[in-house]
């Protein structure tokens, strides 16, 4: 019976990234700057997490929790970033407008590429929750539902860190999880890649500063790909994975720069 039911609605799976996907294109990401020359003082005061610096107007997408206050107040100056390409390979690459050089980015990118080319088309993922609110786990798990079905891309979740190539870390870096997270990272074979999934993992989000969290997971394990979002959508997570593996159609996001943390 279930077998017949499985055939009832045909293929539900997206073709993205090979083909465009309407829902992927409409995916909402953190707030971004449309009019960089505008005065940002009022917007900076509105932001509950200090993601907006007023002069010159900049938004740190890695701190944005997508509350939408700035977008509602000044839709002419700031707006939502759209589409799955939300991740960056440096922490400072999440600050918009970007003002960094392509050379430094190229160095980081080459370092990442050197590690990931060997992984080819069979990549195993391990997830560790380091103090999330629980929603990021849902969005990562969604990658296994028939709509995203990441097995089609040669991506598989594994229970053992010994088999894992990529570590997806969620949460603000709860102190209780620092040890287990570090142990999981150490147990992974080389080469390995770490993706900070969600604004909490990138910079602590609104739950930090706290006596119990680290303000992001970058202080606990070295992060290669930074993905903001509260939580990031499944398409954004998939895009971050492909960015880490050098398999995005246009491999580099908008120019980012600066020293890597």
């Amino acid at each position: 019976m279930w077998a017949l039911r499985g055939l009832r609605h045909g293929v539900l799976t997206t073709r993205w990234p090979a083909r465009p996907d309407e829902y992927a294109a409409a995916t909402r990401g953190p707030a971004t700057v449309f009019a960089p020359s505008a005065d940002g003082a009022d917007l900076a005061r509105l932001c509950p997490v200090g993601a907006i610096s007023p002069d010159p107007l900049r938004i740190d997408k890695g701190a944005c929790i997508l509350c939408g206050r700035c977008v509602a107040a000044r839709p002419d100056v700031v707006g939502w970033s759209a589409g799955p390409a939300q991740a960056a390979i440096t922490r400072t690459g999440l600050v918009v407008p970007a003002q960094e050089t392509e050379q430094s980015l190229a160095a980081v990118s080459a370092g990442l590429r050197a590690r990931t080319t060997a992984l080819r088309r069979s990549v195993h993922l391990r997830h560790v929750d380091a103090g999330s609110d629980g929603s990021e786990e849902w969005e990562i798990l969604a990658l296994l539902n028939p709509v995203y079905d990441i097995h089609r891309l040669g991506l598989f979740f594994t229970a053992s860190p010994r088999h894992a190539d990529v570590l997806l870390v969620t949460g603000a870096g709860g102190h209780g999880m620092a040890g287990p997270l570090r142990e999981t990272y150490d147990a992974m074979p080389h080469p390995k890649v770490v993706i900070a999934v969600g604004t909490d993992a990138v910079g602590g989000g609104i739950v930090s500063p706290s006596y119990a969290t680290s303000g992001g997971v970058g202080d606990i394990v070295p992060v290669d790909v930074w993905l903001p979002g509260s939580p990031p959508s499944p398409f954004a997570i998939l895009s971050a994975l492909l960015l880490a593996l050098g398999r995005l159609p246009d491999a580099l996001p908008s120019p980012v720069s600066g020293e890597q943390r």
């Binding site: 629980g134 539902n145 609104i206």
Partner: protein, 497 residues
């Protein structure tokens, strides 16, 4: 919406009298809904919330200055078991006579403690594993530590399964790994910002937490939420319930190895999250509920909401019927993880866990708030108390939620377009409010002073219910564990705080 202070607030030094009142109310059919502490200068205020007589009673007791111990409530009311351990973790005060005073959310050995309510913010606190006891009791017993990093994409928690082989005579739980210090983080925040943190206290129940938090602020300020805004709140709260219940079904089907059912229900859940995203931009309904109402109307017209809900229902219903006819699946749930009705009643088990064990308590009906007072809703209940009963309650609730969503879409279509957000000034005061999350009742006790939050007690249904996992392994074996955990449907984020 606000607390009915049936017993009022007491300030008696003799705590024993208050505890006897709590015990009497619980014995008379009430339940202990919350127990927490607040630092007030050099004194500690202990607050018990008791659900009884159709409302909530708040019982406050201020301990004398410098007193670091008080007679425990747990020997009289077992439901206080985890609450008093939490108080001990956060304040260091000792509930004398507590049967098992071990660390729960913050194992610390000396040093500074968070002390919610204290205006000082503590420096970083690191959990001390040495503060945790090890338990191996009896001949041939050994402990299987499971977690905090477990297989699969799940939240971090450690289960210590104490077993002689296959049976699970005892289970120990350690949620502290992902303690985030949420309640302390609320303090000194502007009340308008607090809702953003409430949404992230238990991320899969964002809307319910936001509603409960905002209702507390609205009670303090005396604000009435406009009718269309109250409808929009129900719209998002019910979509959240749908997503959470479908998530439980996905996990149960996955545990039983029903690949097609897992895929089908995963698809249904994805479509609920997408519909939520289409309505407000966030797949988890965040950024909608704010003090005084909601930020903006749904981005889809009521007729399109109705069409989407009907379409979902049309495709979901046959899958549910097939699932409830899959014998191999039901065999895994029947008599698995049974929670006896008397224990559920004594503990005051919340949400589907309670209602599968004969409880009929649903805050949407028993203590109706917002638009629920005017919408038609029947409470579903079962008596068996096993994983199957918990699934059946959720299936019933999926049906009633679809019905509610249709009502809301109709009402939104007829509602006069008007204001969606009433003025909700940051007035000083304290209020208690609640909402029925998919996991059960969420409670917020919020205190505002000089326009800032000075104490925000956030009690999730997950915290209240998870302790019952101690008691449901009678006759079950290790391979039943995933079904029992999934059938509880709780979030560790809501437990660890």
């Amino acid at each position: 919406m606000t607390a009915t202070a049936g017993l009022g607030s007491t300030s008696a030094d003799n705590l024993t009298v208050s505890w006897e009142r709590v015990a009497a109310e619980v014995a008379a059919g009430g339940r202990l809904a919350d127990l927490f502490a607040t630092a007030r200068g050099d004194r500690i205020l202990i607050t018990a919330q008791v659900a009884a007589r159709g409302g909530m009673m708040t019982i406050d007791v201020l301990l004398p200055p410098g007193q670091h111990s008080y007679p425990a409530l747990t020997p009289l009311v077992r439901a206080a078991f985890w609450y008093e351990r939490e108080i001990h973790d956060l304040f260091g005060i000792v509930p004398a006579g507590h049967p098992r005073l071990e660390p729960l959310v913050l194992p610390a050995s000396g040093g500074e403690l968070p002390r919610p309510g204290d205006p000082r913010q503590p420096a970083a606190i690191w959990p001390d594993p040495a503060a945790l006891p090890l338990h191996v009791i009896g001949p041939g017993m050994f402990t299987i530590p499971h977690g905090p990093v477990r297989s699969g994409v799940v939240e971090s928690i450690e289960y210590l399964v104490e077993t002689p082989g296959e049976d699970i005579p005892h289970l120990n739980m350690r949620p502290f790994y992902k303690h985030r210090g949420i309640e302390k983080r609320f303090e000194r925040m502007h009340p308008g910002d607090g809702v953003l943190l409430a949404e992230r206290t238990e991320g899969i129940a964002s809307v319910a937490h936001a509603i409960a938090y905002c209702q507390a602020l609205e009670a303090i300020a005396g604000t009435d939420v406009p009718w269309p805004a109250a409808l929009v709140r129900v719209l998002h709260a019910e979509l959240e319930r749908l997503a959470c219940h479908l998530d439980v079904i996905v996990r149960l089907a996955d545990g039983a190895g029903l690949a097609v059912a897992t895929a089908r229900f995963g698809w249904h859940k994805e479509r609920v999250l997408r519909l939520t995203g289409q309505l407000c931009g966030s797949r988890f309904g965040r950024g909608v509920v704010v003090p005084g109402g909601v930020t903006f109307p749904p981005l889809l017209a009521p007729a399109r909401i109705l069409a989407a809900v009907s379409e979902l229902d049309r495709q979901l219903s046959p899958d549910i019927r097939l699932l409830l006819g899959s014998a191999s699946f039901l065999d895994r749930l029947r008599r698995t993880g049974p929670l006896p009705a008397d224990r559920a009643a004594e503990h005051g088990a919340l949400g589907p866990v309670g209602r599968a064990s004969a409880s009929t308590d649903d805050a949407r009906v028993a203590r109706a708030y917002g638009a629920y007072s005017s919408l038609g809703l029947t409470v579903s209940s079962r008596r068996d108390g096993d994983a199957l009963a918990r699934l059946e309650v959720r299936v019933d609730e999926i049906e009633s939620t679809v019905h509610l969503l249709r009502q809301v879409a109709d009402e939104l279509g007829e509602a006069e377009p008007g204001q969606l957000r009433a003025d909700c000034p940051a007035a000083d005061g304290r209020a208690l409010a609640w909402a029925e999350a998919p996991q059960g009742e969420v409670l917020y006790d919020v205190c505002i002073n000089e326009g800032r939050i000075t104490r925000c007690r956030s009690r999730s249904a997950s915290f209240h219910n998870l302790v019952l996992m101690h008691e449901v392994f009678a006759g079950d074996i290790l391979t039943d564990f995933p079904f029992i955990e999934a059938s509880f449907g709780l979030s560790v984020a809501g437990v660890a705080g």
